[in-house]
């Protein structure tokens, strides 16, 4: 059952990415290109996605997930340097290729060799990240 609903959620996520045009790197880079031909589509996608999710978060109070377990606790409110450093690195890669993890996965079936090269590089980066993160934590602590 968990697998079935996980598959459905993944499929819906991918369908939404396709409908919204977020698998198109030109639309994403267009959003980031404030000094060029700026494309505000991404803001509509974000707004549309946050709306049902805000309702879902409200529904979690005093309840449990339908398939059991508990809802994720609110994360540690401290920001931490890893949050800032990681987000800056992520943003640089996002700007360079116009792909973030969701769309990179959703488009790999039809993005040819280029899509596969990006995805494999991303997986390599994810594999390499934990020791880098541990070093960053040890060196700087939290802000």
């Amino acid at each position: 059952m968990r697998g079935l609903f996980a598959f459905l959620a993944g499929g819906l996520f991918g369908t939404g990415l396709l409908i919204s045009g977020m698998v198109d790197t030109a639309k994403v880079q267009g959003w980031l290109d404030v000094f060029g031909d700026w494309d505000p589509t991404l803001a509509f996608v974000m707004g549309g996605a946050i709306l049902p999710m805000a309702i879902a978060w409200r529904l979690t109070s005093q309840r449990r997930p339908a398939l059991g377990g508990t809802f994720p606790a609110k994360p540690d409110p401290r920001l931490g340097n890893n949050l800032v450093v990681g987000s800056v690195l992520f943003g640089m890669g996002w700007g360079l290729a116009g792909l973030c993890p969701g769309p990179a996965l959703a488009s790999v079936a039809f993005n040819g060799i280029a899509g596969l090269v990006f995805l494999l590089s991303m997986l390599a980066g994810m594999w390499a990240a934990p020791p880098l993160r541990a070093r960053l934590d040890a060196a700087t602590g939290t802000v």
């Binding site: 290109d33 920001l79 800032v84 973030c100």
Partner: protein
């Protein structure tokens, strides 16, 4: 309102519905980098089946739609150096920051998480500066 904005809003609502389903039914945060990253570095092996099922839907369903209706325009670069550098940065960055556009952006901002909001400000800011530098100044992308 341009059709692209309407499609963006409609697609966004579908994405948010997917995130709401994954939260309310499975009790999980729908963050693409966390779901796949936990499989890559081994931290999420206890929920491996659920993660793989999610990824099967995320890759397979758009693949099937593209097969039936034709693949959408993607404009992905053919520059291998850019693809590798960008992929590494996205992979390392999202795992160090513990989230990407779906986890910090969609799931974090919607619960007014300060971490999600700060992460989103920094990755959009860094992405914007990167596009300015590499497109308008260096002309690489």
């Amino acid at each position: 309102m341009p059709i692209d904005w309407i499609m963006g809003l409609a697609g966004g609502l579908v994405i948010g519905t997917a995130a709401a389903l994954y939260l309310l039914v499975n009790g999980r945060i729908m963050g693409a980098s966390g779901i796949v990253g936990g499989l890559v570095d081994g931290s999420g092996h206890s929920s491996g089946g659920e993660r793989l099922a999610f990824l099967a839907g995320l890759i397979g369903v758009p693949g099937l739609i593209a097969l039936i209706f034709g693949a959408p325009e993607t404009h992905i670069t053919g520059n291998l150096a850019v693809l590798v550098a960008a992929g590494l940065l996205v992979g390392i960055g999202t795992r160090i920051a513990n989230g990407c556009t779906s986890g910090h952006g969609v799931c974090g901002i919607s619960r007014l998480s300060l971490r999600g909001i700060v992460a989103t400000v920094f990755y959009i800011g860094a992405g914007g500066l990167t596009v300015v530098l590499f497109k308008h100044i260096l002309g690489v992308i």
